[in-house]
Assembly symmetry: C2
Amino acid sequence: VLAEDGERALQYGPPFAPLQATIARLMQSRGADVSPDQVFLVTGAQQGLHVAARLLMDFDSAAVVDEFVFTGVRQAFGGPDRTLVEVKWDPTHGLDSRSFESAVSAAPTPRAAVVIPEFHNPLGASLSEDARRAVLDAASRAGVPIIEDDPYGLLSFDRPPRAPLLAAAPDRVLYLGSFSKIIAPSLRLGWIVAPEALIDRLRVLKESVDLECSAFTQRTTALYMEEFGLESHLVRVRAEYRIRRDAMLAALEADMPTGTRFSRPEGGMFVWVELPEGLDTLRLLAEAVKVGVAFVPGGAFASGPSPRTMRLNFSNADPGTIAEGIGRLGQLVAGQPLPS
Amino acid sequence: VLAEDGERALQYGPPFAPLQATIARLMQSRGADVSPDQVFLVTGAQQGLHVAARLLMDFDSAAVVDEFVFTGVRQAFGGPDRTLVEVKWDPTHGLDSRSFESAVSAAPTPRAAVVIPEFHNPLGASLSEDARRAVLDAASRAGVPIIEDDPYGLLSFDRPPRAPLLAAAPDRVLYLGSFSKIIAPSLRLGWIVAPEALIDRLRVLKESVDLECSAFTQRTTALYMEEFGLESHLVRVRAEYRIRRDAMLAALEADMPTGTRFSRPEGGMFVWVELPEGLDTLRLLAEAVKVGVAFVPGGAFASGPSPRTMRLNFSNADPGTIAEGIGRLGQLVAGQPLPS
């Protein structure tokens, strides 16, 4: 990149048009009719959430979020005078459609509904076809824009990646994509797909946050995809993550006590686990780290306590390590003594 | 960087400690007693402004800013329900101390005063010793924290870089530094120096904006400074920018009509020009771009009209181009016909 056009790669500059075009094609390949001018680059999808919240919310607005959701959503859409209306989780449909409908219909009308339709963080769940329809219909009836957070949608192991909600409702969905989970987190590069009429307002909002995305990173990412192809990389990543997911699900099945429930993600990076009554994952974590196992207690994703739940990550360890880790966790949960 | 530790350079991770240590040494070399734990990395100094504003301001707070200041300050500290109390410019002292004192003493008490002590954008001015003392005293008496925005402080041509205001008041100054103007804008990397007690709150605020700074960029920047040394680079940059500044001041002296006033910056990138009565830089710009000359009309930096003023940049063109450009501008201003 530096050899090709070092001066522009190191300077301030407008968005790198070839990258916008590549992202538009990526979206088109998933059935969303996106033009390059609708692609607004951000410093990762978290910045997409932040900028979307600043676009849509006042200091005292309400937004709809999942009852369990990664902290970044609560940070971007919450605030001392704001209200977060929560949607209940449903293990079969990814979310409880009635709960979603009631949330978007709350008074005062929420300014946005954050939906993670594929391979949810932390739930590992994907919306069923029924839930997707219900979400689009309810949000449309209530006049609430959808923020579709989709960093994991391309990490689909058991089926082709689904069309984003954006494809069905391009005027009512702000779509957030990210290279963090499909190329590398340290690119700090993601994108918003928005109606063209909103792009100028997004630009002003992003300018106030960090001016613009790195020209060097934009060009590096575009060249990487041009030279090596994103799809061949994704084929490898999906195959490897699938093996790791299978290892984790098999180990959970084998090693966790009766009464444990867990999601069976078709992609992404996370499994959500609910332990039997009486267990406390916060206390469990303190014991687990002593034997080299870490996870995130479910309460970190909720507005209230959630003592029996936890999020496990399967993408960042090999299958043997996963099996060993879940085995140790199972022994702790069962209250059995661990080999020292 | 990738060869050394590619995995960590591409992943999420904590701040890169060697970079924090290098920045702390850089601050120490300017007389500020800064520990690495006080160095908080941000995605450029603009993000420093944004995060500082979120730390200190509510939706309806007031802040003190210069009457002429680059848009990023107004964007970060302004807002529909916020008040920006303006400080008058003084060409000799960099700002009018009485105006600053009256601004920080306004009711309700401003939550922050943004000060650019060195090579101001857009004024090109630096605070005199008297003005520095007056600013520190008045802010201290009023109990208003100072946001010291200092992206240009190391680009000092005629004297050694001054100690930042931070050095005199480490508990009452949030200092913002940046690599954009001393290495490259596309690094998107800057830093806040803050009291250690505030670092955790800054971390939570930054997480909500874009999680963290790129691990790759942090390591690249640290390695660049370790291998090549920032100072030898700065020596070259200062020498070249000094030549360009001198070319611009000489051309302004020679080619602009009597009654034109301009700042004589001792560093940085900008000269502030005030044309004689009756001229309008917005109309001038429309003519100037036709003959290949661009500048920013002063009104872009003010809350009200400022028809006679403009900001010129001298860092981004060679001396011959600068002389030619100012010559053309002088002809336009004088209303003389241009050679076609």
